[in-house]
């Protein structure tokens, strides 16, 4: 069988995973997180953004033990560092609208206002939203 070499080798694009959904009510958050982990294999410039109910994805203390068959993936966010994914951004307005502060989050994040988040989004090559 022939071995293929991708011509895209060396091409690094800016990827943003834009999280806007709460974690355990729908499958969006888990699906995006799994895609993030896959993307780590491709040596791209990856960042994660948490806006709207997406900020609830990184809450400390999530415990799904008493839900039926819902896998607790909250701690996976802490593993992202091990995949060299260290750019995590939270929109300040979304955080404050939910009565939260950085202390509520399971990972270290950079809290930025909406205007900065807009600039960050505009500067991406690829945005994957969920």
């Amino acid at each position: 069988m022939a071995e293929f070499e991708f011509e895209t080798e060396g091409v690094v694009k800016k990827f943003m995973f834009l999280n806007r959904k709460a974690p355990y009510g729908t499958i969006y958050a888990l699906e995006v997180l799994e895609t993030v982990l896959i993307s780590a294999a491709f040596d791209q410039e990856v960042c994660l953004a948490f806006v709207d109910d997406g900020v609830y994805q990184i809450m400390k203390g999530c415990d799904t033990a008493e839900t039926s068959g819902m896998k607790n993936f909250s701690k996976t966010y802490r593993a992202l560092e091990g995949y060299d994914i260290e750019q995590l951004f939270v929109e300040k307005e979304s955080m404050e609208a939910r009565g939260l502060s950085e202390d509520n989050f399971i990972v270290d994040v950079q809290v930025i206002p909406a205007s900065e988040m807009a600039t960050l989004i505009a500067g991406q090559d690829v945005v994957i939203s969920g």
């Binding site: 806007r20 307005e93 807009a118 505009a122």
Partner: protein, 99 residues
């Protein structure tokens, strides 16, 4: 960056968040139930009209026609067909979809 809004503003905050998190100058396209955000005389119309000062708005004609609300589209929002949709993605992309 082309912003695509695909959900009704009366069910979700997709449009509201898009307006907050898109840069001035951004093109915004309404598709699917997002087309209800393109309508005049609604609770969202003023927000959209304000944003029209520095953003260009488009609505997918097939989706607006399917819902029987073509007459209610805000003046100045451009109707595009599927070819126009493709042109927007090619010319103004990459894109992000607000769900």
């Amino acid at each position: 960056m082309l912003h695509i809004v695909a959900k009704s503003p009366f069910e979700r905050n997709a449009l509201e968040s898009c307006l907050r998190l898109s840069e001035p100058g951004s093109p915004i396209l309404f598709i699917e139930d997002g087309v209800y955000g393109a309508l005049d005389n609604t609770a969202m119309s003023e927000s959209v009209k304000t944003a029209m000062a520095d953003r260009s708005f488009y609505v997918l004609s097939a989706d607006i026609k399917a819902r029987g609300v073509t007459e209610q589209v805000i003046d100045g929002i451009e109707l595009v067909d599927y070819e126009g949709f493709v042109d927007l993605v090619v010319d103004k992309g990459p894109s992000n979809t607000w769900l």
